[in-house]
Subunit: 134 residues, 4 copies
């Protein structure tokens, strides 16, 4: 399976702020949508991870903004798995202007595996394989 | 207990859009916060309603926008219970500029009671009393 | 040109709430994205409307929720122009489960035309034609 | 003037997600509200900064999540200015459970000064003094 998955969509009006550009918090939601698409591209869904009784809770976000994004622009979230550890995974991202391929932002997120009691837990073996198979 | 409860806060920057005013969807979140404050003012919390195994799901929203709201402005959500029925409640709202008391928007929301299986259910007697005691 | 335009996307995780379903305010953002797609399908962009010095400000939203929507579900916003008046347009919407075609919500929004001074203004002739040509 | 400013509010229902806790992107909006309150506590408003023809655009966000936050919980954003440079400021934050004073998240944001043409620009002298006077 390819490790790097692109997801493309139009910027929504609600994602802009009075600076006339996309609000910085909207990118955090886009990163998550990039992860969702990454899971779908690997033949599964993060929804199934939760159905198995686990969650991947975000433990750290780092994002650097390079250029502004604008309403109606097509943006691409380029997402790849950087590291799979026993209880934690790290995804990396480039947020890209679809037309020019210019990088608008670069980010990583760390997520830890929690069980139903919200305790830190090893990622189930089946999922660890799926997440690291690329 | 008074039926009409005011909640006041500053407009957040993230709630604006590129028109330079508050995005219309942000008001919907404000109405909900008005309902939350209404519950707190009645000595309880909507969180307790969910702990009892029920949810109040929004079944209809109607909102008319009169004037724009701006970043950093203080706004007040004036919320009152309009009607309590067996399985449904209706809240009404005025969104107000705190300083001038001008009405920025008027709204109502209908909410239906669902049980844990997400089936429409009568509002539990204890809660029906609390909701209609004003 | 067809008047009814469908826009399809996956529900984002951030759009859910602790009821386990999509938060009702997220639909309001979806309606707007439906309008954006409607404009794009007509060969233009709402961004160009603003570049011409006008905005379409939402003056009323009404939405009735029929069924819940869930994370990762594919939803379709079916949007059509209901009425074009001198200073106001009305869009109607069905929010649909893409797979089953079940209607999740029905809505309309009224939008009024404002000029750069934020005064109510007739919709420019060029735009009125475009909006009513279907 | 004190450099560290606390802002306290209730968690909104819309800020939760289907994990039953506050969605990680909501914290980013809270940090911004902490900055807004910091400006207000210093006798001004970020709105005035924009009226003077400049914006502070977020160039980097880093946040580490320690504990979950829940609907209706009172949270406090503890915000302080970490560094004022010619064209950039760095704010730091603790997100705190108001009742127990437990730290829920730790963050910093870097913001760069842009002029009306969206070019990187020195922070105006008047504002640089205000931002660094603590």
């Amino acid at each position: 399976m390819p490790n790097t998955i692109d997801t493309t969509f139009h910027v929504r009006y609600a994602e802009t702020d009075q600076m006339g550009v996309v609000h910085h918090a909207a990118y955090i939601v886009w990163l998550e949508e990039g992860r969702s698409a990454w899971m779908r591209a690997n033949g599964t869904s993060y929804a199934d991870f939760e159905k198995d009784g686990f969650v991947l809770a975000v433990s750290e976000v780092n994002i650097r903004y390079r250029q502004a994004a604008f309403y109606d622009q097509r943006v691409t979230i380029r997402c790849w798995m950087e590291e799979v550890r026993s209880r934690q995974v790290t995804f990396c991202y480039n947020v890209i202007d679809t037309e020019s391929d210019a990088v608008l932002a670069q980010a990583f997120t760390k997520l830890i595996c929690l069980n139903l009691k919200k305790q830190v837990s090893p990622i189930p073996q089946k999922w660890r394989q799926l997440l690291s198979q690329q």
